[in-house]
Protein backbone atom coordinates (compact mmCIF):
# COMPACT_ATOMS: atom_id res chain seq x y z
CA UNK A 1 0.00 0.00 0.00
CA UNK A 2 1.47 3.41 -0.96
CA UNK A 3 2.46 5.61 2.01
CA UNK A 4 0.61 8.81 2.68
CA UNK A 5 2.38 11.86 1.21
CA UNK A 6 3.95 13.94 3.97
CA UNK A 7 3.67 17.67 3.48
CA UNK A 8 5.07 20.83 4.93
CA UNK A 9 3.26 24.14 5.23
CA UNK A 10 5.25 27.37 5.16
CA UNK A 11 4.09 30.80 6.31
CA UNK A 12 5.64 33.60 4.26
CA UNK A 13 5.89 37.34 4.67
CA UNK A 14 5.86 39.21 1.37
CA UNK A 15 7.83 42.48 1.30
CA UNK A 16 7.37 44.55 -1.83
CA UNK A 17 7.05 48.20 -2.80
CA UNK A 18 4.07 47.48 -5.06
CA UNK A 19 0.93 45.37 -4.53
CA UNK A 20 1.51 41.71 -5.29
CA UNK A 21 -1.15 39.23 -6.39
CA UNK A 22 -1.40 35.50 -5.68
CA UNK A 23 -0.46 34.78 -9.28
CA UNK A 24 2.67 36.97 -9.03
CA UNK A 25 3.92 35.02 -6.01
CA UNK A 26 3.36 31.67 -7.69
CA UNK A 27 5.05 32.70 -10.91
CA UNK A 28 8.02 34.27 -9.08
CA UNK A 29 8.44 31.04 -7.12
CA UNK A 30 8.28 28.80 -10.19
CA UNK A 31 10.70 30.99 -12.15
CA UNK A 32 13.28 30.82 -9.37
CA UNK A 33 12.70 27.14 -8.68
CA UNK A 34 13.09 26.21 -12.35
CA UNK A 35 16.30 28.24 -12.57
CA UNK A 36 17.78 26.51 -9.53
CA UNK A 37 16.52 22.93 -9.75
CA UNK A 38 15.12 22.49 -13.27
CA UNK A 39 12.09 20.57 -14.44
CA UNK A 40 13.13 17.33 -12.73
CA UNK A 41 13.24 19.08 -9.35
CA UNK A 42 9.98 20.89 -10.07
CA UNK A 43 8.22 17.57 -10.70
CA UNK A 44 8.99 16.46 -7.12
CA UNK A 45 8.08 19.58 -5.20
CA UNK A 46 4.26 19.46 -4.96
CA UNK A 47 4.06 23.22 -4.46
CA UNK A 48 0.82 25.12 -4.11
CA UNK A 49 -0.23 28.43 -2.65
CA UNK A 50 -2.91 27.75 -0.05
CA UNK A 51 -3.76 31.18 1.26
CA UNK A 52 -2.71 34.78 0.67
CA UNK A 53 -3.63 37.92 2.53
CA UNK A 54 -2.44 40.93 0.46
CA UNK A 55 -3.32 43.42 3.24
CA UNK A 56 -1.06 41.75 5.77
CA UNK A 57 1.40 40.53 3.14
CA UNK A 58 1.21 36.99 4.51
CA UNK A 59 0.95 33.80 2.51
CA UNK A 60 0.81 30.08 3.21
CA UNK A 61 2.29 27.59 0.78
CA UNK A 62 2.46 23.82 0.77
CA UNK A 63 5.16 21.46 -0.50
CA UNK A 64 6.34 17.90 -0.16
CA UNK A 65 8.43 17.39 3.01
CA UNK A 66 11.25 15.94 0.91
CA UNK A 67 11.46 19.14 -1.12
CA UNK A 68 11.40 21.51 1.88
CA UNK A 69 15.06 22.56 1.62
CA UNK A 70 14.72 23.17 -2.13
CA UNK A 71 11.57 25.23 -1.60
CA UNK A 72 13.15 27.31 1.18
CA UNK A 73 16.24 27.95 -0.95
CA UNK A 74 14.06 29.05 -3.88
CA UNK A 75 11.94 31.32 -1.69
CA UNK A 76 15.06 32.95 -0.24
CA UNK A 77 16.46 33.46 -3.76
CA UNK A 78 13.52 35.55 -4.93
CA UNK A 79 14.76 39.12 -5.28
CA UNK A 80 12.06 40.58 -7.53
CA UNK A 81 8.40 40.16 -8.38
CA UNK A 82 7.12 41.74 -11.60
CA UNK A 83 10.60 43.20 -12.16
CA UNK A 84 10.35 45.23 -8.93
CA UNK A 85 12.49 44.49 -5.85
CA UNK A 86 10.67 42.12 -3.50
CA UNK A 87 11.52 39.64 -0.79
CA UNK A 88 9.78 36.61 0.67
CA UNK A 89 10.69 35.69 4.24
CA UNK A 90 9.78 32.31 5.72
CA UNK A 91 8.25 33.03 9.13
CA UNK A 92 7.29 29.50 10.06
CA UNK A 93 7.19 25.88 8.93
CA UNK A 94 4.87 23.17 10.18
CA UNK A 95 3.44 19.78 9.30
CA UNK A 96 -0.18 20.90 9.64
CA UNK A 97 -2.04 24.03 8.67
CA UNK A 98 -3.59 24.39 12.10
CA UNK A 99 -0.23 24.29 13.88
CA UNK A 100 1.26 26.74 11.39
CA UNK A 101 -1.54 29.25 11.89
CA UNK A 102 -1.17 28.93 15.67
CA UNK A 103 2.62 29.18 15.60
CA UNK A 104 3.45 31.69 12.90
CA UNK A 105 0.40 33.76 12.07
CA UNK A 106 -1.19 34.27 15.50
Amino acid sequence: MPRRVRRRYLALRVVSEQPVSQRDITSAFWNTFLQLFGEYGASQVGFSLIDYNPQKGEAIVRCSHKALEMVRASIASITEINEKPATLHVIGVSGTLRALRKKALS
Partner: protein, 246 residues
Protein backbone atom coordinates in the same frame (compact mmCIF):
# COMPACT_ATOMS: atom_id res chain seq x y z
CA UNK B 1 19.20 30.37 22.47
CA UNK B 2 21.48 30.89 19.50
CA UNK B 3 22.90 34.37 18.96
CA UNK B 4 22.88 35.15 15.25
CA UNK B 5 25.51 37.43 13.79
CA UNK B 6 25.55 39.22 10.45
CA UNK B 7 29.11 40.43 10.18
CA UNK B 8 28.78 42.22 6.87
CA UNK B 9 26.24 44.94 6.29
CA UNK B 10 27.30 47.49 3.71
CA UNK B 11 24.99 50.52 3.98
CA UNK B 12 26.18 53.92 2.87
CA UNK B 13 27.59 55.45 6.08
CA UNK B 14 26.65 59.00 5.02
CA UNK B 15 23.00 57.98 4.77
CA UNK B 16 22.06 57.41 8.41
CA UNK B 17 18.42 56.67 7.53
CA UNK B 18 19.51 53.75 5.40
CA UNK B 19 21.80 52.52 8.18
CA UNK B 20 18.94 52.76 10.66
CA UNK B 21 16.52 50.90 8.38
CA UNK B 22 19.00 48.13 7.70
CA UNK B 23 19.92 47.70 11.35
CA UNK B 24 16.21 47.63 12.28
CA UNK B 25 15.57 45.03 9.61
CA UNK B 26 18.48 42.93 10.92
CA UNK B 27 17.00 43.03 14.37
CA UNK B 28 13.56 42.02 13.00
CA UNK B 29 15.13 39.14 11.11
CA UNK B 30 16.62 37.79 14.34
CA UNK B 31 20.23 39.01 14.38
CA UNK B 32 21.71 40.05 17.72
CA UNK B 33 25.03 41.36 16.43
CA UNK B 34 25.67 43.27 13.20
CA UNK B 35 28.99 44.18 11.65
CA UNK B 36 28.98 47.31 9.52
CA UNK B 37 31.72 47.82 6.99
CA UNK B 38 33.34 51.18 7.81
CA UNK B 39 35.89 53.34 6.03
CA UNK B 40 39.32 53.15 7.75
CA UNK B 41 39.42 56.91 8.40
CA UNK B 42 36.05 57.04 10.18
CA UNK B 43 35.87 59.38 13.19
CA UNK B 44 35.03 58.28 16.72
CA UNK B 45 31.83 60.36 16.92
CA UNK B 46 30.53 58.75 13.71
CA UNK B 47 31.09 55.34 15.28
CA UNK B 48 29.25 56.50 18.42
CA UNK B 49 26.33 57.60 16.25
CA UNK B 50 26.19 54.15 14.64
CA UNK B 51 26.44 52.51 18.05
CA UNK B 52 23.46 54.55 19.22
CA UNK B 53 21.42 53.48 16.18
CA UNK B 54 22.24 49.84 16.93
CA UNK B 55 21.48 50.21 20.64
CA UNK B 56 18.05 51.67 19.78
CA UNK B 57 17.34 48.59 17.63
CA UNK B 58 18.61 46.27 20.40
CA UNK B 59 21.54 45.00 18.39
CA UNK B 60 25.23 45.08 19.10
CA UNK B 61 27.50 46.88 16.62
CA UNK B 62 30.78 45.35 15.48
CA UNK B 63 33.17 47.75 13.79
CA UNK B 64 34.62 46.20 10.68
CA UNK B 65 36.96 47.37 7.97
CA UNK B 66 37.45 45.81 4.54
CA UNK B 67 40.85 46.21 2.91
CA UNK B 68 41.36 45.74 -0.82
CA UNK B 69 45.15 46.06 -1.05
CA UNK B 70 46.97 45.88 -4.36
CA UNK B 71 50.33 44.86 -2.92
CA UNK B 72 51.61 42.92 0.09
CA UNK B 73 53.26 46.06 1.45
CA UNK B 74 49.97 47.96 1.31
CA UNK B 75 48.24 45.16 3.21
CA UNK B 76 50.92 45.07 5.91
CA UNK B 77 50.84 48.86 6.29
CA UNK B 78 47.06 48.84 6.61
CA UNK B 79 47.15 46.09 9.20
CA UNK B 80 49.80 47.92 11.23
CA UNK B 81 47.83 51.18 11.17
CA UNK B 82 44.29 49.95 11.70
CA UNK B 83 44.36 46.62 13.55
CA UNK B 84 43.79 48.17 16.96
CA UNK B 85 41.03 50.49 15.76
CA UNK B 86 38.53 47.94 14.44
CA UNK B 87 37.04 44.81 15.93
CA UNK B 88 37.03 42.83 12.70
CA UNK B 89 39.44 43.09 9.79
CA UNK B 90 38.56 41.56 6.47
CA UNK B 91 40.77 41.35 3.41
CA UNK B 92 39.21 41.24 -0.04
CA UNK B 93 41.62 39.02 -1.94
CA UNK B 94 41.96 40.17 -5.52
CA UNK B 95 45.24 38.37 -6.28
CA UNK B 96 46.97 35.21 -5.18
CA UNK B 97 49.84 37.11 -3.52
CA UNK B 98 47.42 39.12 -1.39
CA UNK B 99 45.37 36.02 -0.59
CA UNK B 100 48.44 34.12 0.66
CA UNK B 101 49.74 37.03 2.72
CA UNK B 102 46.32 37.64 4.26
CA UNK B 103 45.86 33.95 5.06
CA UNK B 104 49.13 33.68 6.97
CA UNK B 105 48.80 36.94 8.90
CA UNK B 106 47.20 36.46 12.33
CA UNK B 107 45.90 40.04 12.31
CA UNK B 108 43.46 39.19 9.51
CA UNK B 109 40.14 37.80 10.71
CA UNK B 110 38.28 37.21 7.49
CA UNK B 111 39.26 36.27 3.96
CA UNK B 112 36.79 37.40 1.35
CA UNK B 113 36.67 36.46 -2.34
CA UNK B 114 34.16 38.63 -4.16
CA UNK B 115 34.63 37.30 -7.68
CA UNK B 116 32.18 34.88 -9.33
CA UNK B 117 34.89 33.86 -11.79
CA UNK B 118 36.82 30.75 -10.60
CA UNK B 119 40.08 32.38 -11.76
CA UNK B 120 39.43 35.28 -9.38
CA UNK B 121 38.98 33.06 -6.32
CA UNK B 122 42.08 31.79 -4.56
CA UNK B 123 40.75 29.62 -1.75
CA UNK B 124 42.58 26.37 -2.47
CA UNK B 125 44.27 23.76 -0.26
CA UNK B 126 47.40 25.87 0.33
CA UNK B 127 45.35 28.93 1.22
CA UNK B 128 43.16 26.91 3.59
CA UNK B 129 46.19 25.40 5.34
CA UNK B 130 47.63 28.87 5.99
CA UNK B 131 44.25 30.23 7.08
CA UNK B 132 43.76 27.32 9.46
CA UNK B 133 47.10 28.00 11.19
CA UNK B 134 46.46 31.76 11.43
CA UNK B 135 42.85 31.34 12.68
CA UNK B 136 41.41 33.30 9.73
CA UNK B 137 37.89 32.55 8.58
CA UNK B 138 36.50 32.13 5.10
CA UNK B 139 33.58 34.45 4.42
CA UNK B 140 30.68 33.80 2.06
CA UNK B 141 28.69 36.90 1.14
CA UNK B 142 25.19 35.78 0.21
CA UNK B 143 24.46 38.96 -1.75
CA UNK B 144 26.82 37.66 -4.40
CA UNK B 145 24.62 34.61 -4.78
CA UNK B 146 21.36 36.55 -4.68
CA UNK B 147 22.40 39.16 -7.21
CA UNK B 148 24.05 36.85 -9.75
CA UNK B 149 22.04 35.12 -12.43
CA UNK B 150 22.43 32.45 -15.09
CA UNK B 151 25.91 31.20 -15.89
CA UNK B 152 27.69 33.39 -13.33
CA UNK B 153 25.50 31.91 -10.55
CA UNK B 154 26.23 28.38 -11.82
CA UNK B 155 29.97 29.09 -11.68
CA UNK B 156 29.68 30.69 -8.26
CA UNK B 157 27.76 27.73 -6.81
CA UNK B 158 30.33 25.34 -8.21
CA UNK B 159 33.20 27.38 -6.69
CA UNK B 160 31.47 27.67 -3.32
CA UNK B 161 30.85 23.91 -3.20
CA UNK B 162 34.57 23.24 -3.73
CA UNK B 163 35.68 25.94 -1.31
CA UNK B 164 33.36 24.79 1.47
CA UNK B 165 34.70 21.24 1.09
CA UNK B 166 38.29 22.58 1.35
CA UNK B 167 37.38 24.68 4.40
CA UNK B 168 35.89 21.60 6.07
CA UNK B 169 38.96 19.51 5.25
CA UNK B 170 41.36 22.02 6.82
CA UNK B 171 38.93 23.07 9.60
CA UNK B 172 38.82 26.68 8.51
CA UNK B 173 35.78 28.37 10.10
CA UNK B 174 33.20 29.47 7.54
CA UNK B 175 31.33 32.72 8.14
CA UNK B 176 28.11 33.32 6.24
CA UNK B 177 27.14 36.97 6.08
CA UNK B 178 24.74 39.04 4.05
CA UNK B 179 27.01 41.62 2.41
CA UNK B 180 23.77 43.50 1.78
CA UNK B 181 23.82 47.03 0.41
CA UNK B 182 20.03 47.48 0.71
CA UNK B 183 17.13 45.99 2.64
CA UNK B 184 15.89 43.86 -0.24
CA UNK B 185 19.05 41.78 -0.15
CA UNK B 186 18.71 40.93 3.54
CA UNK B 187 17.44 37.55 4.66
CA UNK B 188 16.94 35.84 8.02
CA UNK B 189 19.50 33.37 9.37
CA UNK B 190 17.32 30.35 8.58
CA UNK B 191 16.81 31.61 5.01
CA UNK B 192 20.58 31.86 4.59
CA UNK B 193 20.94 28.36 6.01
CA UNK B 194 18.56 27.07 3.35
CA UNK B 195 20.42 28.99 0.64
CA UNK B 196 23.64 27.35 1.85
CA UNK B 197 21.99 24.02 0.98
CA UNK B 198 22.70 25.00 -2.66
CA UNK B 199 26.43 24.53 -2.05
CA UNK B 200 26.22 21.40 0.09
CA UNK B 201 26.35 23.01 3.51
CA UNK B 202 24.28 21.10 6.04
CA UNK B 203 21.76 23.14 8.08
CA UNK B 204 23.75 22.62 11.32
CA UNK B 205 27.00 23.81 9.73
CA UNK B 206 25.22 26.77 8.13
CA UNK B 207 23.70 27.84 11.44
CA UNK B 208 27.14 27.56 13.06
CA UNK B 209 28.52 29.77 10.28
CA UNK B 210 25.85 32.33 11.16
CA UNK B 211 26.29 32.23 14.92
CA UNK B 212 29.15 30.47 16.75
CA UNK B 213 31.92 31.06 14.19
CA UNK B 214 31.42 34.84 13.71
CA UNK B 215 30.72 35.23 17.44
CA UNK B 216 34.06 33.58 18.23
CA UNK B 217 35.87 36.16 16.05
CA UNK B 218 34.09 39.06 17.75
CA UNK B 219 34.70 37.77 21.29
CA UNK B 220 38.35 36.97 20.60
CA UNK B 221 39.02 40.42 19.19
CA UNK B 222 37.08 42.28 21.86
CA UNK B 223 39.19 40.46 24.41
CA UNK B 224 42.38 41.46 22.61
CA UNK B 225 41.31 45.09 22.24
CA UNK B 226 40.40 45.42 25.91
CA UNK B 227 42.92 47.32 28.07
CA UNK B 228 43.33 44.23 30.28
CA UNK B 229 44.80 42.11 27.49
CA UNK B 230 48.54 41.50 27.75
CA UNK B 231 49.42 38.63 25.40
CA UNK B 232 47.74 35.41 24.28
CA UNK B 233 46.59 33.66 27.46
CA UNK B 234 47.61 36.49 29.82
CA UNK B 235 45.32 39.26 30.96
CA UNK B 236 45.11 41.61 33.90
CA UNK B 237 42.43 40.60 36.34
CA UNK B 238 43.12 43.22 39.01
CA UNK B 239 45.07 46.48 39.06
CA UNK B 240 47.16 47.99 41.87
CA UNK B 241 44.32 49.77 43.70
CA UNK B 242 41.93 46.83 43.38
CA UNK B 243 44.43 44.32 44.79
CA UNK B 244 43.90 42.95 48.27
CA UNK B 245 46.69 43.58 50.77
CA UNK B 246 48.34 40.28 51.53
Amino acid sequence: MRKFVDLHLCPSIENLDQVENMVKKSSELGYHIVGISLPPDIKRDEISQLQKICRDSKTDLVTRVDFTPKTRRELLNNLRRFRRRFEVISVICTSKTIARQAAKDRRVDILSFPSTDPRGRFFDDAEAELASKALSSFEIDMTLLLSSKGFSRIRLLSCLRKEVAIAKKFRVPVVISSGATCEHLMRGPHDYASLAFLFNVTPSLALRALSEDPLAIVERNRGKLSPDYVVEGVRIIRRKNDCLDV
